[in-house]
């Protein structure tokens, strides 16, 4: 359960959608707060996944329809947009998440978001340089 968390402390793990508390009896979860910023982060993460998927679809599409020597601009645009969305989401979460108290750290999912952003960006840039084989 620790792997999908964005913040972890000794007893509470929160991800984008639920806050879960491990007490002696078990695992109590409640829906994450209704605050505006967490809804924005949710939306940006979902959009980035959607755009990555769309870029994959367009890549396969362009692979068969592009002229020889042409560049995959459409795919690149979607991939770069996806990376921008991940970046915005990660930044908003970093800035707005509640105080960093003692014993509260960022979880694996948060680190993964920050790792995904440059990888996505690089992949998008490579699509711009890429040319269809003659």
């Amino acid at each position: 359960m620790k792997s999908k968390a964005w913040t972890v402390s000794s007893s509470i793990t929160t991800d984008l959608w639920y806050n879960c508390l491990t007490s002696g009896g078990g695992y109590h979860c409640k829906v994450a707060s209704n605050e505006d910023w967490i809804q924005a982060v949710q939306a940006l993460m979902v959009l980035s996944v959607l755009f990555c998927l769309l870029s994959l679809v367009f890549f396969l599409c362009q692979l068969f329809t592009l002229v020889k020597g042409g560049r995959f601009f459409f795919t690149a645009i979607f991939q770069i947009l996806a990376s921008l969305f991940v970046m915005c989401g990660a930044i908003i979460y970093t800035v707005m998440s509640p105080d960093r108290a003692v014993g509260v750290e960022f979880g694996y999912a948060y680190i993964l978001a920050w790792v995904a952003f440059p990888l996505c960006l690089v992949s998008g840039l490579i699509y711009i340089i890429l040319r269809k084989r003659e």
Partner: protein, 204 residues
């Protein structure tokens, strides 16, 4: 066949007058408000009878967690009587129009202690059988946005923008292609005109 029709009409005639004697009262279900603001609690009713002069409206209030409700407003004999001793003294105002079957009240300067259930009961003699209707008041510091509304709005807006851009792109391409097509048609027409006109005979 005729007997069935006769029986059915008797049954319906038996049911309908009973229903037409009941008064139906409408208020909201739940109302949200900010601390310090004013709120208008609406109450209206439906009755088969004309609105009589003896129509009465009465509002009562039950705080959250309490068991008893207290009466805070009463309209009867053409005059409204507003709470002057209870929790809403000087904060309650009658803004309804009994002739139009509207018995709404205005609560001013709300506070957290005003959380509770407000019940409106209206009577339109001789139509007095009916069920009172309740509206729940929730007072917030800041009205919360429901979970997922902003999420859905952002996702919808971005995808909608994407669809719009794609549509505009293809529209532009279509218009440009059509314009090029028209120009090329006109060009070829002029060429063929030039070849068939009498002046051309000079060149042959």
């Amino acid at each position: 066949m005729l007997t069935i029709l006769a029986l059915a009409s008797i049954v319906l005639l038996g049911i309908v007058p009973q229903q037409s004697e009941a008064i139906v009262i409408y208020t909201g279900w739940e109302r949200h408000a900010l601390v310090g603001s004013d709120i208008r609690l609406s109450c209206s009713f439906f009755s088969w009878r004309w609105t009589s002069e003896d129509v009465t409206f009465s509002w009562s209030y039950r705080p959250d967690g309490a068991r008893d409700s207290i009466s805070i407003f009463h309209y009867t004999g053409g005059a409204p009587y507003v709470d002057n001793k209870g929790p809403f003294r000087d904060r309650l105002e009658f803004v309804g129009n009994p002739a139009r079957r509207d018995g709404s009240i205005l609560l001013k300067n709300l506070d957290y202690g005003d959380n509770g259930t407000f019940t409106c009961d209206a009577k339109n003699p001789p139509d007095i059988v009916g069920r009172a209707s309740s509206v729940r008041l929730l007072v917030f510091e800041k009205v919360p946005i429901q979970a997922g509304v902003i999420t859905g709005a952002i996702i919808g807006a971005v995808l909608g923008l994407l669809v719009l851009i794609v549509v505009i792109y293809y529209l532009m391409r279509f218009l440009v292609a059509r314009r090029v097509f028209n120009l090329s048609v006109r060009f070829s027409e002029r060429i063929s005109q030039a070849f068939t006109s009498p002046d051309c005979s000079r060149f042959h």
